[in-house]
Amino acid sequence: MSPARSARPSRAGSGALSALVRAGRLVAPGAWPRSVLSTDQWLQLYAGFQAGAFDLVALWGEPGWVHIAAREAQTTAIFSLACPQGAYPALGRLHAPAIRLERALADLVGLRPQGLPDARPWLDHGRWTTGQPLSRRRRRRAAQPYAFLPVEGEGLHEIPVGPVHAGVIEPGHFRLTVNGETIVRLEERLGYVHRGAAALMRGAAVSRAARLAGRICGDSTVAYAYAFALAVERALGVEAPPRAQWLRALMAELERLANHLGDIGAVCNDAAFSLLHAHCGMLREQVLRACHAAFGHRLMMDGVAPGGVTADLRDGGVAVLMELVETVRRTFPGLVDIYDETNSLQDRVVGTGVVRPEWVRRFAAGGYVGRAAGRPFDARRQAPYELYGELAFDAPVLSEGDVNARVWIRIREVEQSLAILDQLLAAPPDLPWRVDLPKPSKAAREGAALVESFRGDVFLWVRLDATGALEACWFRDPSWFQWPLLEAAIEGGIVGDFPLCNKSFNCAYAGHDG
């Protein structure tokens, strides 16, 4: 396969999103402004999603308010609608990607999306100590059997899988309806790992909330902590010093490298090709050991915090990381050749689990799922933050949308991450590596961030109270817009390809469930 063409930021759109920001009542200015809209304006926003002009970034709420983050070309904005009666017109009836977000919103805040085609609970399995934990009036919901979508026809057979899966992986339930070997429908049921992170963050001091943010999704701990730090810094109008930005970029790229190496091996393993699994596993381990030597933690947990980072690079860290980059660069191409030249492996991955370009466009699916099917979005390029505006790298894009393309995007991103690490390691900035956070001002005290994790763009929004603690927080994992596409991609495939296809998506459970 030839190297992927690189993605360039597209030209500014028609500006309809900015016009909506101006039309509404601006409550939080800034790079990503928040405007309160009237019902009419709110429906114009919906029409933008329906027409494909806007991408849905996130949808969440607070008692009496529903919020939507939307994106058009280079513009990201947040909109709010007052719903004092606890109800609002559902976006999901016009724009399918919103459905699960709105089901979760109903579970957590108790806001009723009117006209939502699927009103079943999503995260709430009827087992929490309280219903609607983010609302003022909490009504506990009784546990009821979950009504899976009915599938009828001759010769159909159901295979329930999970929540406890066969491997060392996260819990979730898959209901496969099959006809012989062919999958007629996959329905996912998630929420098993919901820990109530957003509710725990409410009222927490920034330092505690940062530790929580780093544990929403363990494989993307750096990305989440990074997004949280950026959001808080934007709310306070402060910027991390250059060395902190440098250390953050190092950690973010090392996390991407480790995860991609692990994933490439794991996809091969699910196609019963354990040789590459073993070798990629060794490379991943070397990355983690280098991270431990340079940052004191293999996964770099709690490394990023608002104001900068929690510790400087350890002595000899630059040398350790330079050696790591050399090792990966020396070893990895040989493994890629084996991947590309082994017929039995190619036979499994090429043409399997195809995601259509129109699906990723509609769902604004990020990460390798989106970029393997022609959607070039990478937050590091299209919404650059900190050093990413200055670094030279590509965001590879392919159009096939199959398991093979998702592996190739990862392969190319490993190469790009190595190139980024080269640039960073060549020029370490001077101290300091953190700044004190200022006292919150009387103004809006809101901030949002979009950070590219290995899996895709993580959205995180915060509002601070007058003491600087968290008044409200919301995060949206990239998996919210990838999980539904897995259901579509596997349809018509065979049962034996499901683990392979699932691994090539590698969606988050903990990150999604929150």
Partner: protein
């Protein structure tokens, strides 16, 4: 590919020297020696099958548990292996603060595991000292749901820490540990 396979034959293995069984874990497991009968020890020999259950972890614990299978730690050289079904397992390795949504699945997994069986609570969340224990959505610790034989602390525990804990359990279960 031939070169890679040849290198595998000619080069020295990358496998690490195994860590010593964890002293603190040994103490925690001293009571286990009495519970494991001689017959059970004979049946187990020096081999344990482990079923991992994620009961609400953030996935960091799983990443490090998965790393145990890589060539550096090579878990299987100790007679320890991960199995797909609780019915094949001697040990449940449980992570996470036990979310309320996972509680029933965890209990049913335990019920499906034949005796003699042990439960390891792995990671700070599972031990009840993680950040999520106070949540409306979490029970709080594995010990609140199942009888726990061994705690392995850490956020997440490193593969070396996991291995030290598992080796202590292997000693205790096979009755060959010093002082057991």
């Amino acid at each position: 590919m031939r070169n890679l396979l040849l290198q595998g034959l000619l080069r020295r293995p990358v496998t690490d020297v195994p860590p010593l069984p964890d002293a603190a874990a040994r103490e925690e497991l001293a009571a286990l020696a009495g519970r494991v009968g001689a017959a059970a020890r004979r049946r187990l020999g020096r081999s344990l099958s482990i079923r991992q259950v994620d009961a609400g972890s953030c996935n960091a614990c799983e990443l490090e548990i998965n790393a145990l299978a890589n060539s550096y730690y090579d878990l299987e050289r100790f007679g320890l292996r991960f199995v797909a079904s609780p019915r094949h397992a001697d040990v449940l390795l449980v992570t996470g603060p036990v979310t309320r949504n996972m509680r029933e699945a965890l209990e049913r997994t335990w019920q499906a595991t034949p005796a003699p069986k042990w439960v390891i609570a792995s990671g700070d969340c599972a031990a009840g000292c993680g950040l999520f224990s106070e949540s409306y959505a979490c029970v709080g610790s594995v010990g609140a749901v199942l009888p726990v034989d061994l705690h392995i602390r850490g956020c997440p525990p490193t593969p070396t820490e996991l291995l030290a804990g598992l080796l202590s359990l292997l000693e205790a279960a096979s009755g060959r540990g010093r002082g057991l």
